[in-house]
């Protein structure tokens, strides 16, 4: 997209898109330089990285720099932004700025953990579903088809009603809803790779099925799937906020963006815009950060776009 000068250099070293990605995620010595050079020329990716790292920092230090305790109400209720409360206060007197910057610790943690969990659940099962020609693979695929046929949002809030609303359960639910994406991606990779010569060679020298799947095939199937992780984190943030918005997610007074937007929803009808505006902007900037990184990874994985 932005990077034109790097194209020739990278293409010169790496011939296929698999190799480019493999290098991106598992760089041998020397090729790390290619990656850093790539990032240096890709402005969208730089901005994305900056945002994501900024939020990660906030998740760690927000409570130290927050002007008020994000979980304790002040006596000033529904105040518009002022010098005392830069982002104003909500109907119970919570300082919105303090809550907005404290929320990444909840939202980003849930989204990132859930995405990684989905990856851990989905990818081995995907290899299994793609590699085994027997009943087992078929069964795994059909089960995940079933999960995907469910209306995902209703599924998420139903599961939360069963498990009870808590951060841990929210992570589990977001992971379950997202795992089929990884299963599908890695299954299609596996179907393509399992006929390749290196797998046949590995089979001929006497590897077990398990070792074929997870030592030889899996590392080769993984890179294109990893490119999906970043955009998936963005979806997970929005889903997390969404279920909290309808009251099925984390409980007040936990500082969480969706919950804060839900608190301010009725205020929007009567003109107190600041209650829902600021958490929404904070959320959108963070998801945009992950989307920008995803953009960069996609360009990196697709030689025609580099």
């Amino acid at each position: 997209m932005v990077s034109t000068d790097i194209g020739g250099q990278v293409a010169g070293r790496l011939t296929s898109r698999d190799a480019a990605l493999a290098a991106a995620f598992n760089p041998p010595r020397g090729q790390l330089a290619v990656i850093t050079r790539y990032i240096r020329t890709h402005r969208a990716m730089q901005v994305g990285l900056l945002i994501v790292l900024g939020y990660a920092l906030l998740a760690v230090i927000a409570r130290l720099i927050a002007p008020y305790n994000p979980e304790t109400a002040t006596s000033a209720t529904l105040q518009p932004p002022s010098l005392r409360h830069l982002f104003g206060t909500d109907v119970s007197g919570f300082d919105i700025l303090s809550r907005v910057i404290a929320a990444p610790r909840v939202d980003i943690t849930i989204a990132v953990t859930a995405t990684l969990l989905a990856l851990v659940i989905g990818t081995p099962l995907g290899v299994l579903a793609g590699f085994s020609r027997g009943v087992l693979g078929e069964v795994v695929s059909r089960i995940f088809d079933l999960i995907q046929a469910f209306p995902f949002f209703v599924l998420a809030i139903t599961l939360l009603a069963v498990l009870g609303p808590s951060v841990v359960n929210l992570i589990i639910v977001v992971a379950v809803v997202n795992a089929p994406i990884y299963l599908r991606l890695i299954k299609s990779q596996t179907l393509y790779l399992r006929e390749r010569t290196f797998i046949q060679a590995a089979r001929v020298v006497g590897n077990t099925e398990f070792s074929l799947m997870f030592r030889h095939l899996f590392p080769n199937a993984l890179p294109p799937v990893l490119a999906q992780v970043s955009i998936n984190v963005a979806w997970a943030v929005i889903l997390t906020a969404g279920v909290s918005f309808v009251g099925a997610g984390v409980r007040p007074p936990t500082p969480e963006w969706g919950l804060m937007i839900s608190t301010g929803a009725s205020n929007m009808f009567s003109g107190q815009w600041w209650v829902a505006l600021f958490p929404g902007i904070a959320l959108a900037v963070s998801t945009a950060g992950y989307a920008l990184i995803a953009d960069g990874l996609r360009d990196l994985s697709d030689p025609t776009r580099r």
């Binding site: 995902f152 209703v154 139903t158 009603a161 009251g247 959320l283």
Partner: protein, 338 residues
């Protein structure tokens, strides 16, 4: 083609059976005693027990499931203990409203995104092209990052509170307006069919903001797919060959668009089903009173039969859309044969 369609239709019942079973098992784990919920907290323990026995809640789960299936085959979806009506009559009222909302949102997204995508793809490399490229990048980023429920609230603030140009964003009609007689259950269609212009205007006024929300969020993926699909086709050998043969640009573009259509159709179909399950949030904000709100309500109230029916309805809808998609492939692309 016909044989394929029949075969696909035959797979749907077992799929639905699987979905019903899973839903049934999951929902039975939702905490809350339906008999207690129905009678209220002041009812005696004895009465609750009697009702539970009457509803068959004390029987073993497999037996309950068989009874549920038997009723389902008779078209009886059970009773909602929250609304007090039969679930099928509840859904009959609510589903058309949701369908109207998401269909307009869906069509709006296609009408905005596909021409725009074509325009951007076929532009020259000049000044206008760069602006269009920039615009579609920024818009795509925003639409992917901004949660729909927040965007809806911003629209409400700007167009209802600040500018006052739309009706109060609550429900589907102004309270003072008499709803048109029920024909399809979709207000716009019914008002049109009965020439009720007052109701039509009011219904459209209430639809504008929720539909705008859906279009804003969902046009972006269609736009992106349109662009990449056209780019792929324009890069293909047969287009290069047509160019080499000296065919006029207009004809080449027509060839390209026809071939670029397939991935766009796929994505659109998936989007339509996502809209149905994602309508929950938009419906909640605009108090739409459709299936989405009904679903949330039934989760909150442990309204088992209602929730089961909603999941079944949404899943059947998705499976049906996917079937239509696959059949549409063969229509659009004569190379595909079933």
């Amino acid at each position: 083609m016909l044989r394929y369609a029949v075969r696909r239709l035959l797979i749907i019942p077992p799929q639905l059976l699987g979905i019903s079973l899973v839903t049934f098992v999951i929902i039975r784990q939702v905490p809350g005693n339906p008999a207690r919920a129905q009678l209220g907290q002041f009812a005696s323990q004895d009465a609750v027990q009697r009702l539970a026995t009457y509803l068959g809640l004390n029987r073993p789960l497999p037996e309950q499931f068989l009874i549920y299936l038997k009723n389902l085959l008779r078209g009886d979806l059970g009773q909602s203990w929250f609304t007090g009506h039969s679930v099928s009559s509840d859904l009959l009222v609510r589903f058309p409203s949701t369908l109207e909302l998401i269909t307009l949102g869906f069509l709006g997204s296609l009408i905005v995104a596909i021409p725009l995508g074509v325009l951007i793809s076929l532009r020259g490399a000049g000044f206008f092209g760069r602006i269009a490229e920039r615009f579609s990048f920024v818009y795509g980023l925003m639409a992917g990052a901004i949660p729909d429920f927040w965007f809806a609230l911003i629209l409400v603030f700007v167009f209802f509170h600040l500018l006052g140009v739309v009706a109060a964003p609550v429900g589907q009609l102004d309270l003072a307006v008499n709803p048109p007689p029920r024909i399809t259950g979709m207000l716009v269609l019914d008002s049109l069919l009965t020439f009720n212009w007052v109701a039509l205007l009011s219904a459209i006024g209430h639809l504008i903001l929720p539909v705008a929300t859906l279009v804003f969020v969902n046009a972006a993926p269609v736009l992106r797919m349109t662009r990449s699909s056209i780019a792929n086709v324009m890069d293909s050998d047969f287009i290069r060959f047509s160019r080499a043969n000296g065919l006029p640009d207009k004809l080449i573009i027509r060839y390209a668009l026809k071939n670029a259509l397939l991935p766009i159709i796929t994505l659109s179909g998936v989007l339509y089903t996502i809209l149905l399950s994602g309508a929950v949030l938009t419906e909640t904000i605009f108090s739409w009173g459709g299936v989405g709100q009904y679903a949330v309500q039934s989760v909150v109230n442990a309204d088992w039969f209602a929730l089961q029916a909603v999941v079944l309805l949404t899943a059947s809808f998705s499976l049906f859309v996917f079937l239509v998609l696959d059949l549409l492939y063969a229509v659009v692309d004569p190379r595909i044969k079933y």
